[in-house]
Amino acid sequence: MMLILTFSQMQFMLLFSRQGKLRLQKWYVPLSDKERKKISRDLVQTILARKPKMCSFLEWRDLKIVYKRYASLYFCCAVEDQDNELITLEIIHRYVELLDKYFGSVCELDIIFNFEKAYFILDEFLLGGEPQETSKKNVLKAIEQADLLQEEAEAPRSV
């Protein structure tokens, strides 16, 4: 049986709090600002209405949603129908690990105050919705190198 495969990839990733506040949004497909707002609103509502212990996957419109809650934050990815749910769940977990390692026991506030860092780490890990580098060590090395570059640039030059 030949299934016709289409391009599959992650469509977007959202991080939001239990109060429904968006903390990070990454869109891998072109959508208008209005569509993005509507999707985020609808999806956040749908997920917050779900009980704990429920399945981490749900069909939503023509997409598959994979989500997991870490403390006060929900991490939620939209993938396509034929994508692998479990590996997506572990993409979320690896991202959480990266944040945790970088910030040192990451909490919601870290992501609020350093949102740009959260984006940079995500870009090193996933690019265009596909895994770019799955090694934790390599991702963090890239980010720390950047931090180092900046510190050098800002430190007063000494002789």
Binding site: I87, R94, T134
Partner: protein, 983 residues
């Protein structure tokens, strides 16, 4: 303020974020933001030049404000300025701003592209990566135009750093998805495929996404990736958990890469090379074995990663559908998961088993889990899991377990989530029909459906039960009895009243002998529901009443009384009033004979694709696979234009209309010539023909409601082709020894096979004709399979193939006679050899004659031999294509049509059709990537005819423009006509 800032602390930003967080109300937040925006605007506009740090800080604040959901309409220029900063973090913030707030302001794009270009050529890997990330994040066409040429070079260059390669691969993937026409892989293909062998696992991980996507679109060019992927996978699968160091995730070696490799292999059929195949099967077995090993960690991440690979491996096994052993093992593994304590695994096992159910090798194995699945349907707490269980039950249903599954689904319906009820109803209705052995069970099931979930029972469902009851006289009495009982309920659903009204009107006489359901009792029962019903139902009931007058003269006075009362005859609804007036008049002036003729029993409906199936197909979502599967099993015959859409109610309306002596224009609009019985004395010449030819069969003849779809230019065909459609107790009309004229929908049948070679050519209640064909150069061979669907022998079975008119000199078709007897349930085969002498337009005719229960059946079809079958695909470059296109520029060489899309405009569907046409589908030829161009040569004995095709879809308008240029004028036109029907 918490000390959470790390790296480049931007104190002002942290203070601002704190302020926002401290705002007590939305208004306060907006106020604070407006103040900040004013401040930033004044800084940007001020005379003093801002230093890099301030610029970065303000741009970052704007970004934060935007991400809070507010509009930002300035600051883009400052962000672009940051791109050319030589400080990394300033550049980084600039790029982030651009990525998030991309604006297709052309002036800005030019500047951004300039900055990107500088960074790409900087040879500084961190800068290069930033630039590549930006391209991948924005992925606009302008960027594709600027960089699609450069990035493949970076990707394969020997001196590129690994991290840059990774970014370049995914960047290229994004551009390919946006603008496939601009990404020319050509010379790079082989080097890109060999990235699968790269030493750096990160490079392989990034590259494989690109390779998978490119393979999907150009499988032939990338097929060398199969053996590379297999050996990579084999190395990972057999490695110890520590071998891959940081690429091992919770003791699972390279799970992401493994999944991607298995996914890549799903773009291809099983490897032909025995060694490669053997190695792959070994990998799949190892993966299945590992699932049985004790876990190396208790962490859920370990089992998730392991099972992610397992599920992907199972997908591949299902995709190949050729290894019974692996399929059954996969099924057993999933069976274990069905009872796993992790909800996620149960969900996935149910989902994955759904596809296994459709494989012939694993269908039986899936069925063994029926009890577990039923239990899941009853006990799962999460509706999405229950939905999966319902889908799986539907997929695993066959004749052996249909009654059990339908019963479980019905009882689930009583408590089912509202969101899925309609779909459940359709599924129950389909299963009940598909696997009905005795039709009383079918009737019970549908009536139960209406009782349990009446609101969700769509018209299609209750139309269908009526079609089936009308077509099967063995169930009519039972149906009448059952609806009569169902209507006893004080509150019954309106759909029940509709079915009841219709069935009692037709078959109430079958139960009228019992005094408990005497005619008057039946009438009073129906009429007790009348006032609670909507207008369409009341109209239907009025028609039932007039049928009662005909069936039971003793009810005439009572019913006339009802019709005569003001609430009917002066009803404010025109339709109801008209029916009341007309029925009253009809019952008073018509003699019993006339009345009996006008209100004769409804003729059987032609067998068509179930209308419910069509409805379910329209509904998206899970179960879609099994629907397709189901559809394949079912007859493919017929478009949905026939009786199935025109439900019984329409027929009733038509009946009421036809019985109207005066032509009432408004009702005539509804296909007023609808043949609803033999007695439409006022209905025009079509029926006059019927009467003159075979009066006793008139009512059966009227079965074929294709009558009004027929080209009136071909008289004489009505009676002949109708014979075939009807169920059989027909006397042969004198003329029917001659081959019948082609079925009216023969052209439709022909169109179905333009882009495909196999399928069901024709099907009615008696006979199914399947077809398989293959073509090479100007020769073709066609296998016809005639299946006797009844349990009775077909006698004097004979078939004739003819080439009418000028086709005789154009096409040479040879065959041997078939066996004259076809036993009930048997199938016989016939082989046709076809030679194309020169180009042609018409199709050869296939006439089939046989006796069924003494009646001669005579049927003529068009054989789907069309000129495009003799195409040889021709690959050519863009340059060659346009050169030839120009050479074929005489006006008569071109044929063009602009037409509305009748089918899905989905790219994959279109491509499949164009490939089915027989031409080569040429990529990267047309400057507009939305367009399709094809090239091929038609091989005939006398000459070769070159053809070029261009199809331009306009998704917005749902239109196509189709242009053909061929070296022979008549071919352009013929192909254009054929193809215009396909999209």
């Amino acid at each position: 303020m918490p000390a959470v800032s790390k790296g480049d602390g931007m104190r002002g930003l942290a203070v601002f974020i704190s302020d926002i967080r401290n705002c007590k109300s939305k208004e306060a937040e907006i106020k604070r933001i407006n103040k900040e925006l004013a401040n930033i605007r004044s800084k940007f506009k001020g005379d003093k030049a801002l230093d890099g740090y301030s610029k970065k800080k303000y741009v970052c604040k704007l970004l934060f404000i935007f991400l809070l959901g507010h509009d930002i309409d300035f600051g883009h220029m400052e962000a672009v300025n940051l791109l050319s900063s030589n400080k990394y973090t300033e550049k980084q913030i600039g790029y982030l701003f651009i990525s998030v707030l991309v604006n297709s302001n052309s002036e800005l794009i030019r500047l951004i592209n300039n900055a990107i270009k500088n960074d790409l050529s900087s040879r500084n890997p961190t800068f290069m990566c930033l630039a590549l990330h930006c391209i991948a994040n924005v992925g606009s066409r302008e960027m594709a135009e600027a960089f699609a040429g450069e990035i493949p070079r970076i990707l394969v260059a020997g001196d590129t750093m690994d991290s840059v390669k990774q970014s370049a691969a995914l960047c290229l993937l994004r551009l390919y998805k946006t603008s496939p026409d601009l990404v020319m892989m050509g010379e790079w293909t082989s080097r890109v495929v060999h990235l699968l062998n790269d030493q750096h696992m990160g490079v392989v991980t990034a590259a494989i996404s690109l390779i998978t996507c490119l393979s999907q679109k150009n499988p032939d060019e990338f097929k060398t990736c199969v053996s590379l992927a297999v050996s990579r996978l084999s190395r990972i699968v057999s490695s110890a958990s520590t071998d891959l160091q940081d690429y091992t995730y919770y003791f699972v070696p390279a799970p992401w890469l493994s999944c991607k490799l298995l996914r890549l292999l799903q773009c291809y059929p099983p490897p032909e090379d025995g060694a490669v195949k053997g190695r792959l099967v070994e990998c799949l077995e190892t993966i299945l074995n590992k699932a049985q090993e004790p876990p190396k960690s208790k962490k859920v991440q370990h089992s998730n990663a392991k099972n992610a690979i397992l599920f992907e491996a199972i997908s591949l096994i299902i995709h190949y559908d050729s290894e019974p052993n692996l399929l059954v093992r996969a099924c057993n593994q999933l069976g274990q998961f069905l009872q796993h304590r992790e909800t996620n695994l149960r969900y996935l096992a149910l989902e994955s088993m759904c596809t296994l159910a459709s494989s012939e090798f694993s269908h039986e194995a899936v069925k063994t889990h029926i009890e577990t699945v039923i239990n899941a349907l009853k006990t799962e707490r999460d509706v999405s899991v229950r939905q999966r269980a319902a889908d799986l039950l539907y997929a695993m249903c066959d004749r052996s377990n249909a009654k059990q599954i339908v019963a479980e689904m019905l009882s689930y319906l009583e408590t089912a989530d509202y969101s899925i009820r309609e779909e459940m109803v359709l599924k129950v209705a389909i299963l009940a029909e598909k696997y009905a052995v005795d039709y009383s069970w079918y009737v019970d099931t549908i009536l139960n459906l209406i009782r349990i979930a009446g609101d969700y029972v769509s018209e299609e469902v209750w139309y269908r039960v009526i079609q089936i009851v009308i077509n099967r006289d063995d169930v009519q009495g039972y149906a009448a009895k059952t609806v009569f009982e169902a209507l006893q309920a004080p509150a019954c659903h309106e759909n029940m009243v509709k079915v009841g009204g219709y069935i009692l009107g037709e078959f109430g006489n079958l139960i009228a002998g019992d005094p408990r359901s005497s005619p008057l009792v039946q009438f009073n029962l129906l009429h007790s529901k009348f006032h609670l019903c909507s207008v369409p139902t009341r109209a239907l009931l009025l028609s039932a009443y007039i049928k009662f007058i005909n069936l039971f003269p003793e009810t005439k006075a009572t019913i006339q009384e009802v019709l005569r009362c003001d609430s009917q005859i002066r009803n404010s609804d025109v339709e109801l009033q008209q029916r009341a007036v007309e029925y009253l008049k009809l019952s008073s002036i018509a003699s019993t004979d006339v009345l009996a003729t006008v209100l004769e029993e409804m003729p059987p409906f032609p067998e068509r694709e179930s209308s419910i199936l069509a409805k379910l197909k329209k509904k998206k979502g899970p179960g879609a696979v099994s629907v397709t599967e189901l559809e394949d099993n079912k007859r493919e015959g017929g478009e949905l234009n026939g009786a199935s859409e025109r439900g019984p109610e329409m027929a009733a309306v038509a009946a009421s209309n036809a019985s109207t002596p005066s032509p009432s224009a408004d009702l005539l609009g509804i296909r007023s010539a609808a043949p609803i019985g033999g007695a439409l004395t006022s209905a025009g010449s079509l029926l006059v023909d019927v009467f003159s030819e075979a009066a006793p069969t008139a009512s059966s003849a009227a079965v074929n409601d294709d009558g009004f779809l027929r080209d009136l230019g071909q008289p004489n065909e009505s009676s002949d082709s109708l014979l075939v459609e009807s169920s059989g107790d027909l006397d042969a009309a004198p003329s029917s020894e001659d081959p019948a004229a082609p079925l009216s929908d023969a052209d439709e049948l022909l169109n179905k096979f333009v882009c495909k070679n196999n399928g069901v050519l024709f099907e009615n209640q008696l006979l199914q004709i399947g077809i398989k064909s293959e073509y090479r150069q100007n020769l073709g061979r066609m296998y016809l399979f005639y299946g006797n669907k009844t349990s009775v022998q077909f006698a004097s079975f004979s078939t004739t193939v003819s080439c009418p008119g000028e086709l005789q000199g154009q096409l040479n078709v040879q065959t041997k006679p078939v066996e004259p007897l076809v036993e009930g349930g048997a199938q016989i085969q016939q082989v046709l050899n076809i030679e194309c002498l020169t180009d042609f337009c018409d199709a050869p005719l296939l006439n089939i004659k046989f006796r069924y229960g003494g009646a001669l059946q005579n049927l003529t079809l068009k054989l789907p031999v069309t000129i495009n079958k003799f195409f040889q695909p021709t690959e050519m470059t863009s340059h060659d294509f346009f050169q030839r296109w120009k050479q074929l520029s005489q006006p008569q060489q071109e044929a063009q049509k602009i037409f509305k899309a009748n089918n899905s405009m989905d790219t994959e569907v279109l491509k499949a059709k164009l490939l089915g046409l027989g031409t080569a589908l040429l990529e990267n030829i047309d400057p507009n990537p939305e367009n399709y161009v094809c090239a091929g040569v038609i091989q005939t004995k006398s000459q070769q005819i070159g053809c070029l095709l261009r199809l331009e879809p306009n998704a917005q308008a749902q239109m196509y423009r189709l242009t053909l240029r061929c070296s022979k004028d008549s071919v352009s036109k013929r192909l254009c006509d054929l193809l215009a029907e396909q999209f």
